[in-house]
């Protein structure tokens, strides 16, 4: 059983297009995340939702819009794609916000490799 699943695995599209990436977790976790991994393998958080509430919104262009219809799903929509958006996007989840009294390992999906041409 896949714990955190995201689709599609690969996404090749042209500049200016709009695309979405979907993520679902079946772990019963309260918190979900989007991370971006660049060509140098650097991982950076983009957004985080806790029980459908946006709790982390990093300095990301407003062309990126996350949506969480329920706590098991977190989708990422990207408008007007640019060459610089090419990267691997990872969805992740954890049991809670990660407070010091909780054991909250982060579980990642397998990533979506986005290529903008």
């Amino acid at each position: 059983d896949t714990a955190v699943s995201q689709t599609p695995k690969y996404l090749v599209t042209q500049m200016g297009n709009d695309k979405s990436i979907k993520c679902e977790q079946n772990l019963g976790h309260d918190t979900m995340y989007w991370y971006k991994q660049d060509s140098k393998k650097f991982l950076k958080i983009m957004f985080s939702y806790n029980n459908k509430e946006l709790i982390i919104n990093e300095t990301v262009p407003n062309r990126f819009s996350p949506k969480s219809p329920d706590k098991a799903h977190l989708n990422l929509h990207i408008n007007s794609l640019e060459l610089g958006d090419s990267a691997v996007y990872f969805c992740a989840s954890s049991r809670d916000r990660g407070g010091s009294s909780y054991n909250s390992p982060l579980h990642f999906g397998n990533g979506t490799r986005l290529t903008v041409t």
Partner: protein
Amino acid sequence: GIQVEQSPPDLILQEGANSTLRCNFSDSVNNLQWFHQNPWGQLINLFYIPSGTKQNGRLSATTVATERYSLLYISSSQTTDSGVYFCAVGNYGGATNKLIFGTGTLLAVQP
């Protein structure tokens, strides 16, 4: 914000060798995790270890929070251990309410 440094940046081992990867961080943390990204790109959580020592098979990790470092030990390395190892830290409820990732250690285990 918290700075996270990992060393060494690259490491080549012969199968069967042992290794130690280090993660230094610049501020207090209450969340520290180690991840392995395999050559297929999958990110696997190895340890949640804000303090103390844990072991899982050939892998073990130790975090000394007061001295702001964590170590990941790999014993009797195998080719399947190849990939990038990331340390990530956070201080929830404090100044850094998210996980900050280090730049990783790229490990290649040769047969």
